[in-house]
């Protein structure tokens, strides 16, 4: 039993999610409906898109605090450019991709080449991006996403499978390919686990790490576009909370803070746990505050079991 708990962090996260959901239904049977189901799936997907880049970066042993800011910025670009019209998507992408590329490069070069602490440089970059949102929109973003785009995200197949699943298939496909089916993914894991050994084995670890930050920002940008479409309203910093949530999702999903181990499916399960937890607490009619405390408690518990550092004395 103990062994099982210790070795199966993702499994444990899944079990906790299932239990929470069961509690949820037991307390309020009315919540067992297609709508709840659909919104849980949609929110989980959105969070796992946001956490995709964070997963890559945390596998290298780094952290990215600019995820939320990049997402918000992308969301603003999306709403502003689309302005309710169809056929503007290429233009949106032409804005979001260069923005994300620059942010990712600054982060990556700052961490790898300048050896600045990842947390500090990504936070400062995130501040700049946030300020840019206000300058760009004068503090009052306008516009809405196109009806068709929003419809593709919000439509429910069979009444409960959200349209976002289609996007999910593509994004999961790409991220899983990068992580588990490409040379780059393999090099990323090796670099994260033992940077020195990877370097000596001929891996260009600097490049691998910078690329992780760039890909991370790109994925955050895409998540921002989708987020804008799903929420269908936009204010400055609207998606900032995803920075914190993505870190929690990744850590809960079994990625080690010191790097070298992690999986995207784990992150998805972590996202599910967060969403189900907050859904469950919402059903319990508990306030945001209580939800926050319980969230912190669960996190501490998982950290104490899975993310301990080694003692000096062995």
């Amino acid at each position: 039993m103990r062994q099982f708990v210790r070795d199966n962090q993702v499994g444990m996260a899944l079990i906790i999610s299932a239990l929470l959901f069961a509690v949820n239904i037991a307390i309020n049977p009315a919540s067992l409906n297609a709508n709840t189901f659909g919104s849980i799936i949609a929110l989980t997907l959105l969070l796992s898109f946001a956490s995709a880049g964070q997963t890559l970066i945390m596998i290298t042993g780094g952290i990215d605090l600019s995820v939320g800011a990049v997402m918000s910025m992308a969301a603003i670009f999306t709403a502003n450019t689309m302005a309710g019209q169809e056929g503007q998507m290429p233009l949106v992408i032409a804005q979001v991709v260069p923005m994300a590329l620059i942010v990712g490069l600054v982060n990556g070069v700052g961490v790898v080449k300048l050896k600045l602490p990842a947390m500090v440089i990504t936070m400062c970059v995130s501040n700049v991006v946030t300020r840019l949102q206000y300058v760009y929109t004068q503090g009052l973003p306008t516009g809405t996403t196109s009806k068709f785009f929003t419809m593709t995200l919000q439509h429910r197949f069979f009444g409960f499978i959200p349209g976002m699943t289609l996007y999910g298939i593509v994004i999961f496909g790409i991220v899983l390919y990068i992580l588990n089916r490409s040379r780059y993914g393999q090099q990323l894991f090796l670099t994260g686990n033992n940077r020195n050994a990877a370097y000596l084995a001929g891996v260009r670890s600097d490049m691998v790490e910078i690329l992780a930050y760039v890909l991370g920002s790109l994925l955050a940008g895409i998540a921002g576009i989708i987020g804008a479409g799903y929420m269908n309203f936009v204010i400055c910093q609207s998606l900032d909370s995803y920075t914190m949530m993505s870190i929690v999702a990744v850590v809960v999903g079994g990625t080690l803070l010191i790097g070298g181990k992690g999986s995207y499916l784990g992150t998805a399960v972590g996202s599910l746990l967060i969403i189900v937890l907050s859904n469950c607490l919402a059903v319990l009619n508990s306030s945001d505050a209580v939800r926050s405390v319980i969230m912190g408690g669960v996190l501490i518990l998982l950290l104490a079991v899975y993310n301990k550092e080694k003692p000096i004395r062995q």
Partner: protein, 506 residues
């Protein structure tokens, strides 16, 4: 004052100390000698509380004592200066000297004047060229070593242990240190020094204890033992320093020279190294620990930038900027420091085996578990690696099998040149033999191997020619009938040396 009997310590399967005994009297300077891996350092660590022996008895002044941790060792009046230093780099000299034993005034305030006075006293005594307020990290390595000694002496111990501290000292510093040690001896301190420099022992020590494979094989007074006898006890062979001309490349003309190194300098460790290697040869690099072998091999790989000298690889002047470039040019590297430099502990066995190959090909190209597993499966079979499953993490394997993972990683890629830095350190005898077999087979297919080793038997067994490093230079090159353990030992101890031409400048 100190007696140790029947000390035994096992690290997993490796026996570091086997029923070893040791004693030292007050007012005596005793040398603790032994070749690589004979258990000297472990014995010192038993006394300093860092290693807990499996069996044995330690007596101080005839009373049996237990040394459970570093504090207890200090309380018993034992002080140790470590080869790899226990100083805090970002702190000042005086703070380091009193760390853990700061003189306190009222309100817990450190008595800075007293600290400084103490520091000045001990710095003056050892004539260390630095100010008490200097940061340790701004000081050159030799001064840091002296500080390590000073830190130990300032504890005013009854027993002082110096573990290879002279290795990075200059000659004048060694003289100062020895004068001080003689003074301390007059004051009745018992001093134990571990060193590989034979001439120092005769200058300083009263007696010596010799360890071999964890056992105490000889002890005696320096006045009654000559150098030949000491080397004999250390290695089991009498040194043969008579051989001349062991430095020249024996007049063998082989067709294809794969690697030629001329007068390579990489301070502070590598001072002047020249060697060459032909296709299909196994070149051994021997010598005591820390004579520049590791740095030399890493310079070939492009990790360190040599300050001067030339490296020709396949006839082209090759100075790689990173291992990635070297690997691209079909060079492989196996490190003996598994944890830090070779194994990816939490990645799977298969991934570890595939690590060298992940760099070959388009970076976003497809690489599925099937490819990795089939490659790894073949390697596991070929190299007889004992792993529960390809999916298990590498740290679930035994040390020997982990090392086979790393060797196998490169062999399967068939590089033109394979560099190995002490690959069989801490590896059990069976795995070691298998690694040797693999290497020999590969050279038949045209691979060139350069292997550095701290184990003489290994060098003699597998290498075609052996270069012996001493203090950053080649002291001898042994080939064919010159390849005897006696000569190897003589060269290791620096009893013979050869001028490979090209004096070191600067």
């Amino acid at each position: 004052m100190l007696e140790m009997h029947g000390i035994t310590k096992r690290f997993d399967a490796v026996v570091a100390l086997n029923n070893a005994s040791f004693e030292v009297a007050p007012g005596e300077i005793r040398a603790l000698l032994g070749s690589n891996g004979s258990g000297k350092s472990t014995l010192v660590k038993v006394l300093s509380g860092l290693v807990n022996p499996n069996a044995g008895e330690i007596k101080i002044d005839g009373k049996s004592v237990q040394i459970g941790n570093a504090q207890e060792s200090r309380r018993l009046g034992i002080a140790v200066a470590y080869q790899d230093l226990s100083l805090i780099q970002s702190m000042s000299v005086m703070d380091n000297l009193v760390l853990g034993l700061e003189p306190k005034g009222p309100l817990g305030i450190v008595d800075r004047k007293q600290v400084e006075a103490r520091a000045r006293e001990v710095l003056g005594r050892l004539k260390i060229d630095c100010r008490p307020e200097d940061l340790v990290r701004s000081l050159p390595p030799s001064v840091q070593s002296m500080l390590e000694v000073a830190k130990a002496i300032s504890l005013k111990p009854r027993l002082l242990l110096l573990d290879e501290v002279t290795a990075s000292l200059h000659h004048n510093e060694v003289d100062i240190l020895f004068d001080t040690l003689r003074e301390l001896k007059e004051e009745g301190m018992a001093i134990v020094i571990v060193t590989h420099r034979m001439e120092e022992i005769y200058k300083l020590c009263d007696g010596c204890t010799i360890l071999k494979s964890g056992e105490t094989v000889a002890r005696g007074k320096m006045s009654e033992m000559d150098l030949n006898e000491i080397v004999y006890h250390m290695t089991g062979k009498r040194p043969d320093a008579a051989a001349q001309g062991v430095c020249q490349l024996a007049n063998i003309e082989k067709e294809e020279q794969v690697l030629e190194v001329r007068n390579l300098v990489l301070l502070p460790k590598v001072k002047d190294i020249s060697l060459n290697a032909f296709r299909g040869e196994i070149i051994g690099i021997g010598g005591l620990e820390g004579q520049g072998q590791s740095e030399f091999i890493r310079a070939l790989l492009g990790v360190h930038k040599p300050s001067s000298g030339e490296i020709y690889y396949n006839g082209i002047n090759a100075r790689f900027k990173s291992p990635a470039q070297a690997v691209k040019k079909e060079i492989g590297f196996v490190s003996g420091d598994r944890n830090k430099e070779a194994v990816f502990p939490i990645r799977s066995v298969a991934e570890n085996l595939y690590a060298g190959k992940t760099t070959k090909g388009n970076i976003f190209g497809y690489l599925g578990p099937k490819q990795i597993n089939s490659f790894a499966g073949r390697a596991v079979e070929e190299f007889n690696i004992k792993a529960g499953s390809l999916k298990h993490p590498a740290n679930s394997l035994s040390g020997g099998n982990q090392q086979k993972l790393v060797v196998g990683r490169w062999i399967a890629l068939a590089p033109k040149l394979l560099l190995l830095d002490d690959p069989t350190k801490g590896v059990d005898i069976n795995s070691r033999r298998e690694i040797h077999k693999i290497l020999k087979k590969c050279t038949e297919d045209g691979m060139t191997v350069i292997i550095s080793s701290s184990d003489n038997a290994e060098l003699l067994e597998i290498s075609d020619r052996i270069y012996i490093f001493y203090e950053g230079k080649v002291s001898a090159m042994l080939a064919e009938e010159n390849r005897t353990e006696e000569k190897l030992v003589a060269a290791m101890m620096g009893l013979i040396s050869c001028d490979t031409g090209g004096e070191l400048d600067g």
